[in-house]
Amino acid sequence: MKVGLGFREQLKSDIFLHQNKIDFLEITADHYLDASPAKLAELDLLKQHFSLIPHGLDLSLGSAEGVDEKYLEKFAALVESVQPEWFSDHICFTKSGGRNIGHLAPVPYTHEALAVFKRNISRVKRVIKTPLILENITYMVQFPSSEMTESEFIKRLCDDNDCGLLLDVTNLYINSVNFNFDWRKRLDNMPLERVVQLHFVGGHSHGNWLIDSHAHQTPNEIWEVFKEVCERSNVKGAILERDENFPPFTEILSELETARSFAA
């Protein structure tokens, strides 16, 4: 299993000074879609030194109105330029009624939602031939109208569309705490054979809620989920998704080493 890091500009210098300890980088696709010459130079530099995986935020595969064609075109150009093994986006919608919500919003787990995803994913697949993998998100509400559990929905989604799964073990754990379910049992119903990549990082608690802030060290509870998933599936890569409150880089490297040790 390859272990890498979500590329953030704040970490750039350290990333270059530790190339041999980082197997691959995940780039936020949206940062390079309408990029300035400086960002494009940065992308060229990253391509030259690392294998990259574009991670999208705004394909909005759960939007009933369909995929934004212009966005898709730009995304496809990025994938073409980076030539990754796979690319990813979230199981959510971020656009509605032509407006951008600015948030990864959960969908109700219904057959109708599955149909929406199927239509959108098939459109994406027609334009981008590189394998697409889908990421589970955290949510603050559960829809009473849901017709199946999250794991059943994800399994159907991946099977129906022949997509891999980007299992965010932090999101799984946070949802399990916030909605009081057993993550192990949830894992039992997940399509673990489809897991391609993992995300891990620490969040923080706010009252009774755990928040997926990407701003803290990965806690032991999440390492437990990580380890279990590694044991039960054939994961190709894991990405530490640290976005804020950056610690000394040695701490980040130590997290990557921990991930590597669990994968061994």
Partner: protein
Amino acid sequence: MEFLFDNPLANLKGPMFLALYAAFIFTVLIAYPIIKFLLDKTSKLSLPTIPQNPDAYEIAYLRGGANEVARSVVFSLRQKDLVKIETVGKQYFIAPTTANKTAQLIAPIEQAASDWLKFSREPKEVFSASGLAEMLQPYCDNYERNLQRKQLLADESLQNTTSMLKAFAMISIVLLGLYKFIAALNHGRSNVLFLVLVGIIGLIVVYFFAKPTRVTKLGKSYLAQLETAFDRLRTQVQSAKPAAQSATFAGVDPILLSVGIFGSSILAGSIYNDHNEAFQKSQAGSWSGSSCGSGCGSSSCSSSSCSSGGDGGSSCGGGGCGGCGGGCS
């Protein structure tokens, strides 16, 4: 023989000839970098990747030659507390400390510099004849060879060609002026003051602005790549703590590396501000000396003030002074 001084050029009236002469000098100034650009074939080569442990001194040499290496080495010693920057009145000095250097792991180049700095020195001595920069020349020769092998610095053939081209450009300016001068005297005219002035100004401008190739196109791209990869070090430098408390990553000191890549002007406003100021002062006081680099942003960058040979001397050529604003490229 009569035709020699009786032809349209020789008979051209003074102001017309001066305009033509100025246009010729201007054309030389424009043509020189274009020809230099065309002679440098390195842009088609693939860019070297950034190594795991980039050598700050080699990068400093690529960016600015021996003077930049000397500046970086002094900074490293300062950072390791083996030298300190002292002020006496308005004068800066680099003085040895009482710290035990055997207790520290220092590179041979730093050891050599430390030996040279056994006594208190003025920063400008670093760049003077038989100064530190000159003493570090054997190390710089190694960097030169390595960088030429990677085609980041121009090889001797390209350096010679562009130097000869510059000489040819200057000679052609002299010859054209001289021809008109003799033709004017031959026609019994003695009002040649403007002709001489334009000729001298033209020569000075070409001398200072037409620089033989030192850093190749590939070298400039490599420097740009380093600046992109390590631009975050700029902010790291500002929050730097004394050496003992700062982390050394993968055997590379990030602050020393940033000085190598961006020049010591990057230290302005940091806890090492005195280093930057000391060298800036030394340049301000030695315009015709040999120092440049850190003070590029401070308008003290003339071609003559740059070190060993090449593209505007050294620290002002190539990548355009690294992070000091490109003010002297």
